[in-house]
Amino acid sequence: MTNKLRSAGVLTALALALTGCGGAKVGETEQPAAGAKECGTFNLTVSPWVGYEANAAVVAYVATKDLGCKVVKKNLKEEIAWQGFSTGEVDVNLENWGHEDLKKKYIDEQKVAVAAGSTGVKGVIGWYVPPWMVQQYPDITDWKNLNKYAALFKTSESGGKGQLLDGDPSYVTNDEALVKNLALNYKVVQSGSETALIQAFRDAEKNKKPLLAYFYEPQWFFNELKLVKIDLPPYKAGCDADPAKIACDYPPYDLDKIVSKKFADSGSPAYDLVKKFAWTNEDQNQVAKYIAVDKLTPDAAAEKWVNENQTKVNAWLGK
């Protein structure tokens, strides 16, 4: 009984003490939400690379701040995001790399998605080496000399040949065909992820190890290390028609935006924003650097860039 009393006493005292120094109450500091009626809500997929996140951050920031929209970000792999157009779970994709097959399926056949123009960012895919190699072996950037240096690139994984490190399984590669058709003494080894690729480049540059790997621009990592692209036989329209016979470089990609049909027809001002949104590789790299290197949150990174580039933003808003 004494126990009970004592505990009750302690609790009461505690409760009183806490009430006394209670501080701000829930709801007191909140402003009512901005009038989001006009714009409404849209679902924005966020693909798993920082460049994309830069796009998403800026568009979401502007849409929320200037148009009063509610933006729901969904972290999805590209394929799943495309599926999302058909299930109505995704409205906007802000950086699409090619994917002609998916465009055919979801835009032409299922008619659930529509193209919304270019982002202005140019995508480049190719084979890269770390900068130190170019200094030491200046002629390495010509693919014709790759066989000369094949022995340099030998690893435990490449079975006596030179190693060509491939990337994330999300990206379509022609590398096996290229190696074969260009008669290169190399073996394609799957690194399996972008993380593995970047780590490999870091290690290669730091410890002066040879590395030849599949990579792409724009990529935040170029802020850290200026990788050098190998010149493969130049791309000509149609040279990649037959996947088995490809012997030319990857085509340049005009990265574009895809939106759901539903969203395009909604008349939301956000659709106009998405449609007009376009910037440059440098702009994207800048925001990507804020996020990846300076460790800003996407929102803070977007705010910073928007403040520095108000005119570009005004153009998107039609001001």
């Binding site: 505990s7 009750a8 609790l11 806490l18 209670g22 501080g23 701000a24 109450k25 829930v26 709801g27 007191e28 500091t29 798993p48 690379w49 920082v50 969904k74 972290n75 999805l76 792999k77 590209e78 394929e79 799943i80 495309w82 599926q83 999302g84 058909s86 299930t87 779970e89 995704v90 097959d101 690893t155 435990s156 994984e157 490190l165 994330d168 399984p169 999300s170 379509v172 590669t173 096996e176 394609v188 080894v189 799957q190 690194s191 399996g192 992820s193 993380t195 593995a196 690729l197 970047i198 780590q199 490999a200 870091r202 290690d203 410890n207 935040w220 996947p243 996020i291 990846a292 460790k295």
Partner: protein
Amino acid sequence: MASITGSVEIRVRRPRRGVLVGVLLIAWLAAWFVLRGIDTLSLGGQETTRLHRWLTEQADVLGRGNAFFDAIRIAVDQLVVLLQNVIAQPSYGRPVPVIGWLGVVAISAYLAWAFGNWKVAILTAAGLSFLGVQGLWQESMDTLALTLGAVLLALLVGIPLGIWAGLSNRAFKVATLVLDLMQTLPTFVYLAPLTLFFAIGPAAATIATLIYAAPPVVRLTAHALRSVPAESVEAARSLGSTRSQTLLKVLLPMSRSTVVVGINQTIMAALSMVTVAALIDAPGLGQTVLKALQTLDVGVAFNAGLAIVVLAIVLDRVTTAAGDRPWRTASIRRKVLLGLGGLGALVAVWFSRTYLWAAEFPSDVNLGPRIAVAATDVTAWVQDVFGGFTFGVRDAVTEGVLNPLQALLTESPWWLVSVVIVALAFLLGSWRGALPAAVCLGLLVGTGVWYDAMVTLASTVLATVVVVAVGLVLGVWAGRNRRVDSWIRPVLDAGQTMPPFVYLVPFLALFGTSRFTAIAAAVVFAVPVTTKIVADGIRAVPVATVEAANSVGSSSWQVISKVQLPVARRAITLAVNQGLIYVLSMVVVGGLVGAGALGYDVAAGFAQSELYGKGLAAGLAIVLLGVMLDRITQAAARRTPKFRRTVRGDDKW
């Protein structure tokens, strides 16, 4: 009598198994020299078979809307969103969740106390508060909400299934097979289809978690029911209990502590899915880990991983304490205290609904960045100090062991490998090993990814051997020494629950992109569970048996090798089996750091829709490898001592 001596003679005359295995391997080597490169069934990265393309088409067909799946999706979504609203997300027009951090900590600690004891209550309060201090309160609560949702559903489905499998022998056999499949089929294989069935959102993530997390509770419930002493059940029946009375009054109460172990394992499994589920937009800590990985930010990833570990340890200790509670009912004093405690928790909830400081975790005590920086520094130091050395180890192991083994498996004709494996299985486990091996190999050829399967098999065998070796050493050590055990447990817990994604970056730095890196990651992931099972097995050896061995003057080594290991044989078989399953569950993660082969195929199938069918086939190939290796080891273990058929009662009722 004559027949018995006859069989003994035959046994003596038959060459020893080891010799036969040796002869077989030498014959294989010889055949390999001659037949190298023929019929290796290799398939390029972007190449597919007709089966793969057919499977891809099926995925599209299946994805069309379906009222049944919609109903499930809505129900699951609502459950998870409800949980999120309560503890994680601003909800019901308020800027904060229904219950703020103080309320969550108070209620959790109270429950830990009520169902466990005051020690775990303190651990719970400290652990949950630590999540806030890490600056990850909301993420942690999102993860907790999703995990709780998935676990609740897993129990809802799993316990009845476990009861069924516990009561019926036929259900038990079917369940074992299905559960093996659920646990070894890589999550990546069903992640994408799940988003087709259940759309993108909490439902798909929850169900993916559920599929992976339900098997332990089913298994252990069945096991618990089956191990209730027959006499207690007979006693109940002999007094005229109906089936449901026997179940409710005898079987279930007496199974309680084992079922709780199952619940515990299910919670752990659910937490280990946090990062993978984040790939389909599951909210919470998994997102933090994945985002950090994009920028190779080891520190932030570690901080989030640490939060998962803390959550796991809290949930583990609380459920364990709950399972260990004795049967006694509470004393009056405890009842009074419980009542008061409940009141206190309610007061805390009220605070957390009223005052901002109790609703949102104060941001001025955020240690997250410091933890992240420290983790980054440690990683950098390890890389600097051990960097060169580790690459040397990698090359030595790869050239010395892995490459020869892989060459033998991949360059031999498929039929030669099949014959050798079946023969080996027969030698080790007679037809019980050979028959499943033959079936699995046949199906493997059918999947069209034979070559990749052989690459993965080589890595898997090597990783499993290392896991078992390390697990045995650590397990015996911890099993014989309580102090070692108490030191090693938290490390093992961390190793088991820390998402592998977190240590991929440091491992990549230490070993580069290679099969070895994948093996190392798999070993780190699988050693804890193996060690724990071995340690428990060693500890379960009756004291009298060990004393008997000591009394005749055995050395420590003799006690271990002649008494403890043989007596703990069942536990060790289980440890091997679990080690194998854990290694296989890392095949896909291994594919992300350079292991290629099946893991890469599965990941590519998840990432590129035209490769979906191939990914599914590769996932099935992983399952087949698992089933094959498991059946061979089980058969080998069963064969070693001679077993007599024992006659048992025909039914449990």
